[in-house]
Amino acid sequence: MFGEPSSLLGGTLLATPSDDDVGAPATGRQEVDAFVLGGLLGGEEPEKPTEDHGFGDPGLLGDAFQPTGLLTEESPASGSSNDLQPTSQTQDTATQDSQELLDPRPLGLPSVVARSTSGPTILSPSIRATSYDGTPVYLRRKPRKFESTVLNPTSTRSQGVGKLLDVPMHRLMDELSATTAAKLSLHDQPVASTSAVSPESTMWVDRYRPQRYMDLVGDDRVHREVMAWVKEWDFCVFGSKKGKKRARDDEKQDEYRRPNEKLLLISGPPGLGKTTLAHIVAKQAGDARSASAVDDRIRPALETGSMIGSSKPILVVIDEIDGATGGSDNSGGFIHKLISLTYDIPRKKGRSKKEQTARPLLRPIVCICNDLYASSLSKLRPHARIIRFSRPNDLHLVRRLRTICETEGLKAESRALSALVGLAQGDWRGCLNTLQLIKARNKVVTESIVRKATAGMKEADMSQLAVLNDLFTPMSRKRAKELGVTEEEEARYVTRLSREVEGSGSMDRIAIGCFEHYANLRRHDANFSRYLKANEWLSTYDVMSGQMWAEREYASMQYLPYLLVPFYPLFQERGGPKVERPKVDWEQHTITKTNEEIFKSLAGGLRTACTRHGGAYRHFTSDVILQLEFTPFINRIISPPLRPVNRQVIKPDEKALLDRLVDIMVSLELRFVQDKTEEGQLMYRLDPPIDVFVTYDGKRASDIAVSRYAVRHLVASEIDAKFIHREAEFVEKTKETKKRSFFNANKDEAEGQPEGDGKLMAGEAPDHLVTKRAKTDNGIVEKAAVDFFGRPIVQSASSTKPASTTGRASKKREGIVFKFREGNSAAVRRPVKVSSFL
């Protein structure tokens, strides 16, 4: 498919090694190979050139390589396999450029020319040249690849400078296309080439593992997607030195130009080649190793990778990430660590702008899992780009299997092979293993042999969802054909389904799945007979499994699957609503757990109350009473209809109510905690939130008034005061002597709080107004102060009154207490009229 276009340069380059009489191409050759690969496979190794370009001598030959730069840009965008057109073109120009370059050289660098033309000295690491006046000039080593491309034409026909190409160009082209064709044909059968290398003892799976991107079988789009994602990292991993690209890169990426999702999560059933894909992409994406890293290896791997930076960038492949988390805390930490690794970035970003040393995650991480919805991965999913592997087209697999059979000398019927693929459900690994197994005995692969060999394969464990689907939908014709199940066999479903249920490994969840799904099937069921039966089976199942666990009679486990099979005859339906992953039960379970926690904290509060109040609340602590009687009524008791008024102006009966409320809440350790709603509004929340127990379907009971913010504020401040008071009391008890003043202060402070607000509102604001007014009409300062509404202010009167009374009091006191100039205390010195002594 990509034979012709890329041939041009490739030919030239490949021609060189054939007659390498000069020492030069020894090193150049590998590079050439690599280069060809890059050309052929589009973006296989595009980074190398980029890098080299960075180091290269731009003054001299920079132009020659710009096209390669183009190549790198092209490849991530358009995937990797089909951008051959531009590639070949660029290489074409590259050749031309290099041809041209040989000519201008004498003009460009006159001093060097003399020696450089004379032989391969240029190849030495640093080139010594002598100018006309005899001063030695050292030239820095040029990148090898560059040298090779430039030098090859000269060295192949190195007889003279004048005759640059003594083989005509068209012949060269022919030669080149021939070699390319040969090489391509080699590529077309990588299988053969690899199998020749590997000894008989290896597993076929390993032997025929694809080595190159082009060898991959399956959904091209998925492969391309993965490759594209990895390519998105190019700039971050390789290309930070490239000026040109930065200029025209799009803006959606962050400063490191990483893709938005830093993790790639490949999911799919086993044996489809996820791991292979990851490794190949890693290899192909650049000069990268893939490291299967565990736990703390990741961070060092990434960091070393980013420190060395240029030499060996790393792409981390974490395989079987769903298995890495068996539910233990440690492995939960693994996922968590992984996420925090990717999460760190936004936080660090600001800092690393200033100091470039602290580098965040700069290397791609690829995770591979079988079960995308494994509970352990739930946290990972939002942060990862998810790629699902699906079963590849059987045709591809069969074709590949046939070539393998041919190379292995197995005679295979294509029917047998397609049967095998069908049985294995696209499990590529399974197919190969089976074939290898067959090879050990037979020389021919027939359908019957395949069926025999795969007898156990059918029961390979299936996901819950698949089992549920099988329970509720009859077997599809196609699948039946694959399994080679005849009509009458299909009719005998019990064994098949019970095995499936058992094989799923989690019968309880299947039961829940059945429970959640059966009522979705709204078939016309006039007398409910179907539902009745279904429920009967379910409840029998539950009773039996409950008994089994309780009595530890695990022998009865084997009978449990049969209790779920009846859902098939009862509800099987083609094209019914799809079975969904059961989740309602789990959701309810978590809610129940949180509510139980609330009950626990409430019971804890009751117990402490019990110790404080001489055993008063202890009879409520039993669960049933708590749940059924206490919580509904305590919720009503603690929500009396209070008016949102200032504590000072409260009516006496309301005051009593408030006091009682506060008392009860304090003794139960209930509080109002200030919080913000989602809209950012301030509100008071009950803590522990026992009001959830009067809230059903998201609605509070109608007879409980929702107390307003102001009321709760009032109550909350009272409660806080009370708590402080209580603590103070406690302290006081322990340290009687010292704490008295402290306690008073505390109390004052606490009580001052709510009062303060009120006074501020009532007293101060008008005063302020008054002064303002006083300024405006400056003549009548002495006029009585008026409040906002123009009424004479009562406050001011009251505030002056106490002042006058205190004045009087002080007069009196002076008369009694005062002693003139006693001691050296300045506290009581004050000018006093004689009259006050009289």
């Binding site: 409910f528 609340y617 049933v624 009503r636 009860i664």
Partner: protein, 357 residues
């Protein structure tokens, strides 16, 4: 400050408001010196715990009122830690083994052994034995009950056990035969009204209207605790106890009734799903499944035809037993709902019901 329920709880046998004859009997028992193991049983809110506390007071004097609460940690054979709250005074000890579920046997054994093997050190104590009160005895597992029966005989010399249960049906016979059974019946409406009036008289407002008291008493189903809680809630919500009083039912009960109505209104797969979500809501509010079933069944039975009542209750009972054995309560609740729907439908359309058993 505590709730009225606690504040006006009688402290001595003399203060008790009703079941006078029971009080006298308890008094004479306490005085006799030969105090037996006892099993108090009766409906919730009848005053069992109050009577137990009063009896203890009668036995040991005021010292029995000085309580402290400990949390003890027990270890199961499988190295699992169990936290148990223990209320104790110098003379007695109160545990609720159902807190730890199926591991209650461990708690019972360890704790009782420990008590039984230590003598009363207080010389001035009136009796040589300590009393162990086991709350919610009817939720003891069979294992725990079996562990109990031996201990009850063996350590009679320095320990007495008082069991407190709602019904004796879940207790094994050997335990029942070792105890003096004391039934505390629910107070009558008149008695509840009397108590409510007593509570009111100790409050600043002094009195409660007769009709209000009557209404509360009627609504409480003989549960005095509930009656007083309702009274206090009412008082808090409308301080002058005037106007048309609406006595709030507990929210879960209202919700259960709603579910029952839904079952009767319509019988369809659609409705089954709706009812299921409601049942989930109830269960997630920690309402015990058996209570849910019972409440809904009661309500349904109220509304349906006479001929259906027996069947519905019969099936409710069957599914309740199943529920106790099984793990997933919701399966059985729904199974019952579907059963009721089907029964109702059949009755309604007068279809022959044979073959539906």
């Amino acid at each position: 400050m505590s709730l009225w329920v606690d504040a006006y709880r009688p402290r001595t046998l003399d203060d008790l408001h009703y079941h006078e004859s029971l009080s006298t009997r308890l008094r004479s028992l306490a005085a006799s010196g030969d105090f037996p193991h006892m099993l108090f049983y009766g409906p919730s809110g009848a005053g069992k715990k109050t009577r137990i506390a009063c009896t203890l007071r009668e036995l040991f004097g005021k010292g029995a009122d000085k309580l402290k609460i400990d949390q003890r940690v027990f270890m199961t054979p499988s190295r699992r830690k169990l936290d148990v709250n223990i209320v104790q005074s110098n003379y007695h000890l109160e545990i609720t083994p159902s807190e730890v579920g199926q591991y209650d046997r461990v708690v019972i054994q360890e704790l009782l052994k420990e008590i039984a093997q230590t003598q009363q050190v207080d010389v001035s104590a009136k009796h040589r034995f300590k009393v162990v009160i086991i709350q919610e005895a009817d939720s003891l597992t069979r294992d725990a009950q079996a562990a109990l029966r031996r201990t009850m005989e063996k350590y009679m010399s320095n320990m007495r056990i008082i069991l407190c249960a709602n019904s004796t049906s879940k207790l094994i016979a050997p335990i029942k035969s070792r105890c003096l059974l004391v039934r505390v019946a629910a107070p009558s409406e008149g008695e509840i009204v009397k108590v409510l009036k007593y509570v009111a008289s100790r409050q600043p407002f002094r009195q409660i209207d007769d009709d209000v008291a009557q209404e509360i008493a009627q609504d409480s189903d003989g549960n005095l605790r509930k009656a007083i809680l309702v009274f206090e809630a009412l008082k808090m919500q409308s301080p002058d106890l005037s106007g048309p009083l609406t006595i709030a039912k507990p929210d879960w009960e209202t919700y259960c009734h709603k579910v029952a109505d839904m079952i009767i209104q319509e019988q369809s797969p659609q409705r089954v799903m709706e009812v299921r979500s409601k049942l989930y809501e109830l269960l997630s509010h920690c309402i015990p499944a058996s209570v849910v079933l019972k409440t809904i069944a009661d309500r349904v039975v109220d509304k349906v035809d006479e001929n259906l009542k027996a069947d519905i209750m019969h099936w409710a009972a069957i599914y309740e037993t199943r529920m106790r054995v099984g793990n997933k309560k919701i399966f059985h609740l729904e199974a019952w709902v579907v059963k009721v729907m089907s029964l109702y439908k059949h009755f309604f359309y007068d279809i022959d019901m044979t073959g539906f058993d």
